[in-house]
């Protein structure tokens, strides 16, 4: 029925390697051939951030989708992870120190896995997005994203602060 088969665009992680070029770029090595990679993004950055990772060449053409980062060798995996962490930067909120609202703007004072951070969120309904039962992605006024993996695991004081907003 479908004319496009998954084999056409899937890259099996076991079959390739990646390395850094001199100026920090990424090179894909497949069947002994090298190809420079310009952009690495996940097709499902929120639900499957480490699977189906799109690799594009310097012209923006998609080379293919890596099926699973986990199946790469350690060095390549490290490179892809670094690139993904940058192409979709979303620190994880570990604790909420303070939440304060004034005139429809909520000021979040949090601890993340990347360090302490303070940010503003407008229109909480639109910018706090719930994914699954206990996971939330928050977008601040500047377009930064933050994640609450599982709000049940936050300290209980933080949970209490968050309750009206989630």
């Amino acid at each position: 029925m479908n004319e496009i088969t998954t084999d056409e665009f899937l890259i099996r992680a076991e079959a390739v390697r990646l390395r850094r070029s001199d100026d920090g770029g990424v090179v894909l090595i497949r069947d002994g051939r090298e190809q420079s990679v310009g952009r690495i993004t996940a097709a499902y950055p929120l639900t499957h951030p480490r699977r189906l990772v799109s690799l594009r060449d310097a012209d923006g053409q998609e080379v293919g989708l890596l099926d699973n980062v986990k199946d790469l060798d350690a060095d390549s995996r490290q490179i892809v992870r670094q690139e993904l962490d940058r192409s979709y930067f979303m620190p994880r909120i570990m604790d909420v120190v303070d939440l304060r609202e004034e005139l429809n703007v909520v000021r979040w004072d949090v601890q993340t896995n990347k360090g302490p951070r303070t940010f503003l969120v407008r229109n909480v309904r639109r910018n706090v997005r719930r994914i699954g039962q206990r996971r939330f992605v928050i977008k601040d006024v500047d377009g930064n994203r933050y994640e609450i993996r599982d709000w049940i695991t936050l300290p209980s004081a933080a949970q209490k602060l968050l309750e009206p907003y989630l």
Binding site: D22, D23, G24, G25, G38, R39, T41, P45, R56, A58, D59, G60, D85, R86, S87, Y88, F89, M90, P91, R100, E102, L103, V105, R107, T112, K114, G115, P116, R117, T118, F119, L120, R122, V124, R125, D140, V141, D142, G143, N144, R145, P164
Partner: protein, 783 residues
Amino acid sequence: MAFSENGETHTSVRRFEDLSARERASLSHVAGDQAIRAVVDSDLLPSGDYGDAQLLLLDRELLALEDGREARRIALSELRAASCRHFVGNGVLDLIARDGRRIEAIRYSKSRAEAFDQLAEQINATLETSAEEIEARREDAAKASGPAEDRPTYRCPNCGYPLRHASDACPKCTSTRQVMWRLMKLMRHHWKLALFGLLMSLLFTAFNLAPPLLIQQLVDNALRPVSDARTGGGAVSERMLAERWRYLAGIVAALGGVFLARSISAHLRIRALGTLGNRVLKDLRSCLYRTLQRLSLSYYDREHTGRIMARMLTDTRVVQRFVDRSAQQILVNMLTVVGIAVVLFAKNWKLAAIALLPTPIVLLLTKWFSVRFRSIFRAVRRKYANLSASINETISGMRVVKSFAQEDREIDSFDEKNLEEYDARTTAVTARSRFIPSLTFLTSLGVLAVWLIGGGWVLGGVLTVGWLIAYISYMNMFYNPVRQLLNLAEVFQESATGAERIFNVMDTPSDVTDHEQACDVSAVRGQIDIRNVSFTYDEGEYVLKDITLAIAPGEMIGLVGQTGSGKSTLVSLVARFYDPTKGCICLDGVDLRDMRMKALRSNIGMVLQDPFLFAGTIRDNIAYGRPGASEAEIIQAAKAANAHEFIMNLPDAYDTRVGERGVSLSGGEKQRVSIARAVLKDPPILILDEATSAVDTATEAIIQEAMDRLVHGRTTIAIAHRLSTLRNADRLIVLDAGEIIEQGTHDELIAAGGLYADLCDIQANFAKTLPADSMLRLSGRRR
């Protein structure tokens, strides 16, 4: 609260002069003998951890600092360009070395993206990077990271509150007094009504405060037992009793009078202020609507329809509510509170103090609960919005739900949201069930104290029973106004912001306006001269670059080019929806800007790709540009537009209602109505922007026939995707990325073998896959 996220950080490009003394000292140290041209702070380290980093543009070098230590130092002489890559949640400023190598200078979060974009521009200016190079780098960066997704957020320069648009009023810094003053001025036409309403509010308050005092008189003077007088002898007591009766009747009558007067003043007050509010609402709306009609299209490019609607409907209502309710409520409440306090303290300050003792506690409790309520009600509103969004969505998508047999899943998902909303409401009910009763109990504690202590004083003869009752009554009247006054600041702020937003729209200048000496034009010949016109929508890239084109009266120009090449933009300039950024456009030798806009537009007819029909009848829609047209003329126009046949097949023919509440016409039908509209207007200049792109080929033939008729004898600029549509054009102009790259007749352009020839080729190949008859038509048009 301060809206800046971290007290000390700066989110913009700073010059040396903008730095604090301490920063100057420490940065000069790392800069050495070079002057600091620009500094931008970052909040992110290359590792992805938050931290302090900085990029400094010096005389000869770029210097990146991380946590105050030098991380990278790059000589400007080695560099070719700078550009930014935008990722999700962060970005990188890249430097391109002379040998093409890319150096990542600094990483930053989205909060600093604006500043680094500007810094990159400044670096490029310093390097004297060519425009082509910058453009090429920008494209490379876009390929490597994806386009910049978010619009920048603007901050109030004063307090840092995030604004959606640079021109928005900051709700926090809006000067309440200033806006209120302007609002007052708006009411000046109705000052008599306002004064009357105010007066009635005063009267009402006075009448409302009177009854307890009268009751005190009643109890102390009329209802005092006569027994002590009775022992003195029958006659005396008879006389006294009669006197008491008169007194009683007198006071009851007075009370009756006060009650009546109170009701009448209330009635007059509500009517006066209500009318005033409605008038202000009407005035505001009408002012706003005028402004909206006056503003140029560029305003509508910037603003969403929803926002404009909110200005028109919600904000004006907020102001109305303030005028007719909040303002006088505040006044009445204040007078009541002050009045009661004065009366009570004047009579017996000790008892007054006891009576008003619970006030601070009531205030605190109210404040505490209102904070809690706000978050609870916010949760309720959110859940409710979820619920209604889900209903809305499934109903409009019912066809899809059913065709994929997903009814059960939709029911489950709805039930879940429904339950959530129920839970939120239950929480709200619980909170409310605690608030009012506990408040009532608190105030009744005060009442108890007054009964006890005041009662003791009555027994001791220091206080009369009447006064005791008056104190109790006043206490009951005291606390509601106090509670309402607590919200005063919020009410003021809300209305002031609403009013400010309205005033902001009214103050928006229109980019395209008639200047004072603008002339009227009548019999236009239709000579259009486009001279060295360049245009940009919002100070970004030029969409049109140095276009020069002379169109003779009666000539038909075909405008060809890929999507986004600027065709529609060019014709909007001819209709003066926008003014050219550079160069000018003349009609019959007169600059469009020297012509009155109404006069100009009455000479131009436009048929657009997406025809818009107003709610109304087909007749109204055809006659839109010429409301005085006769019925016969309308039919004539419809016939010329090949619309008559289908219109006559509608049960109500020309009286058929179309638009929101009427029948829905097909794309081709709408297009023919809009052509009829242009035919009836009979303009010397005609603009056709992809008028037939949205219809199937059979319909196109019908429309095409109508258009050929319409074009005859007019200066016409026609844009078409299907090149065959332009077979009648005298001249074809090929636009590419905002520039004219080819012009000439079809045959000349084919012979030249340029872009036009390629486009024709592609379409001809495409046509081969079409049925034979449409191919015939296509080739037939090729002359």
